[in-house]
């Protein structure tokens, strides 16, 4: 048998999120060394890899607010064995979803309204992803295997979930780590 352990391959992304969940992942502090010994990163803000390849775990932060989010999320779902919704925004849309009761056209007109002329100069460069009518929780776009609640989930909660997943256990939070806020 080969002595070198097979490393778990992890992809992460922030869709319509604030990167707070990624900051919380970094907050595991010195446990990052243990994590680095057990896993390697695929597409992630930590590696700058642009497109995901086959991986074991995908951690998704943020809801789905535009067409690019849909493509990224579907690519990760197609490549990951286990997809985890991390944090309030991935689970229920979170703060960005508080625009959902408003019309997206009205929002754009209001946001890009020129105070001088009163006209709306809404950007229409084809490079820009189109906003969706609403911000969707990721389980309304793709199948989600597990959800890790919190805003953000604490470093201890992320560590518990990751170690459970890496060791092949059903991930579960203790009551003191289980929070929506």
């Amino acid at each position: 048998m080969n002595d070198a352990p097979v490393k778990v391959r992890i992809a992460t992304t922030s869709l319509a999120g604030c990167f707070g969940c990624h900051m919380s992942l970094l907050d595991i502090d010195e446990r990052l060394f243990e994590l680095a010994g057990r896993c390697e990163f695929d597409r992630s803000p930590l590696t700058d890899i642009k497109h995901a390849g086959p991986c074991d775990i995908a951690l998704i932060e943020g809801g789905v607010s535009n067409s690019e989010n849909v493509h990224v999320l579907r690519e990760l779902r197609a490549n990951a064995k286990i997809l985890v919704a991390v944090g309030a925004c991935a689970i229920n849309g979170g703060l960005p979803a508080m625009r959902n009761h408003l019309d997206i056209g009205d929002i754009l007109k209001q946001v890009y309204r020129d105070p001088g002329t009163g006209e709306a100069n809404i950007p229409c460069d084809p490079e820009l992803p189109l906003p969706l009518d609403k911000v969707y929780p990721i389980n309304e776009i793709v199948r989600v295997d597990y959800s890790l609640p919190g805003c953000p989930p604490s470093a201890d909660a992320i560590w518990k979930y990751l170690t459970d997943l890496i060791l092949g256990r059903m991930p579960r939070l203790d009551p003191q780590l289980f929070h929506y806020d």
Binding site: A85, A88, I91, N92, G93, G94, L95, A97, M98, N100, H101, K134, P137, N139, E140, V144, Y146, S147, L148, P149, C151, R172, P175, F178, H179, Y180, D181
Partner: protein
């Protein structure tokens, strides 16, 4: 007192004549989850979280009387799954964004989500447009978070004697309305010290300027799960 007993999850349990299953269970130290029941304001029978199995049939523990010889199932995986689904439906029916809510940590809906290990709301979200009434100088009414338990309706009518709130409309259109000529809270008789403002289990009715007096993380259901909290608080309430 009578010597009559009924069975809770196989355990013989005494009860006083006239007690509901929920009350008898609580006196025996068994928590039955609930949102719309309050020991002072009584049963409402609408949230259905206290659903139990009585002699093989489902019933609301807050309205069903305990009877000698009854076999009641309260804590089973099937009932917990049913209660979790009910909480998930309440979450998607309104706009419940815990991280942005002053009530977070004191909210019974959230605490029941914790109790049933609800990691996500599962169903497709409604994201309804419900609106906020911030007209009153001391009290908020945020209909986005209302679960229509009618605790405020009952408290305002039966304890405060003011009849400030009512539930109007039908089915998914139903919502809490305010008894004032303008329909606004500012023109109603409500006051910050009313039982109606304090009884709201969620963040729909909030007293202004006190929301963060206790920091997030040190609040009621951060300290104890709702099961332990309810047994301690509600027994104390009935012993008064």
């Amino acid at each position: 007192m009578s010597d009559a007993t009924f069975e809770i999850d196989g355990q013989p349990t005494p009860f006083k004549p006239g007690q509901t299953i929920l009350e008898a269970a609580r006196d025996a130290g068994v928590y039955v989850p609930h949102l719309c029941y309050d020991p002072e304001l009584g049963a409402h029978g609408s949230c259905k979280l206290c659903t139990v199995i009585v002699n093989g049939r489902t019933a609301s523990a807050c309205t069903m009387k305990a009877l000698a010889g009854q076999e009641v199932e309260i804590d089973t995986p099937e009932l917990e799954a049913l209660r979790r689904s009910l909480v998930q439906m309440l979450f998607v029916e309104g706009n419940h964004f815990c991280p942005g809510c002053e009530k977070s940590g004191d909210c019974k809906l959230q605490a029941l989500g914790y109790e049933f290990e609800m990691t996500n709301p599962h169903w497709v979200h409604f994201f309804p447009d419900l609106g906020v009434d911030a007209s009153h100088p001391d009290v908020w009414l945020d209909r986005n978070r209302c679960i229509q338990c009618e605790l405020c309706v009952r408290a305002s009518r039966d304890v405060d004697g003011k009849n400030v709130f009512a539930l109007a409309g039908r089915s998914v259109e139903s919502k809490i309305v305010v008894n004032s000529p303008s329909g606004l809270l500012a023109d109603s008789a409500i006051a910050a010290a009313d039982r109606a403002t304090e009884v709201c289990p969620v963040g729909a009715i909030l007293v202004k300027r006190v929301g963060f007096a206790i920091p997030i993380g040190e609040r009621r259901f951060d300290r104890a799960p709702i099961s332990a909290d309810a047994l301690a608080c509600e027994v104390a309430e009935t012993d008064k």
